[in-house]
Symmetry: C2
Subunit: 120 residues, 2 copies
DNA sequence: CGGCTCGTACGATAGCCCTCGTAGTACGGC
DNA sequence: GCCGTACTACGAGGGCTATCGTACGAGCCG
């Protein structure tokens, strides 16, 4: 009902401000295998936005919603409605300002482990 | 009672092998403020080994033991007995081989946040 | 309008985790 | 040998979390 939300069915979702993003929350969000995989997939095509249903995760839809919310509330991803779909994208810009090099190091570490163990 | 442990009171503690260290476990270990602080303190004097009681943590001794064990079992620190004291050191060598640049990025991120928020 | 798909909300359950207190073990010094 | 120090083990409690099922709202298409 907010005047800003009147435009083209764009419901807003609560995101933490950049300065409210805490490192512990980011690390906790990424310490779950399902969420780490989501972030890796999002980073693969960094510019593209994927809907929640685009991912093939070994959990139900309810749990998927939960994981995406954890990622959003920790400041790792940005979610915007596009019609009935919810598009997800990394908050790479904000994370790079707050913690330069961290995201790349994390993604590289995840990729390295996936190649080593075969979990990706 | 093992023959190897007979030498000079060196009780052994179970550490994960380098190839058994999992990124998710490392991130989970570091997602706790107390443990993140321990790691930051250990990294400050990277060569030195500190006993558990060296740290001034806002938790009891039992909880401190618990946190050090989580850090050890996740592969972040190495613990060795030295008489009655237990010396702690970062496993920087192993972590750098597994995840190059990750530890430095994490420490830099933690330092940056501490400077920003004043939690350090 | 009717139905379809996408995602949410709510409740429930089970497991994990942080915290602590108390009791106990290992080592060093007197 | 005895005591103090450093740390551990065990058990308990309280809270968070991951997971699910079911029921529901929001937008699109015919």
């Amino acid at each position: 009902m907010t005047p800003a939300a009147t435009a083209a069915g764009t419901r807003d979702l609560p995101h933490p401000a950049r300065d409210d993003i805490r490192l512990e929350d980011v690390l906790h969000a990424l310490s779950d295998p399902v969420r780490l995989r989501i972030v890796r997939d999002l980073a693969a095509d960094s510019d593209a936005l994927f809907s929640c249903s685009h991912f093939d995760l070994p959990v139900t839809k309810s749990t998927t919603t939960h994981h995406f919310r954890v990622l959003r509330e920790s400041g790792v991803i940005r979610q915007t409605y596009r019609g009935t779909a919810k598009m997800n994208g990394l908050r790479r810009d904000d994370l790079d300002v707050l913690f330069p090099g961290l995201l790349d190091a994390l993604l590289a570490a995840a990729a390295r482990q996936a190649a080593r163990v075969g979990t990706g």
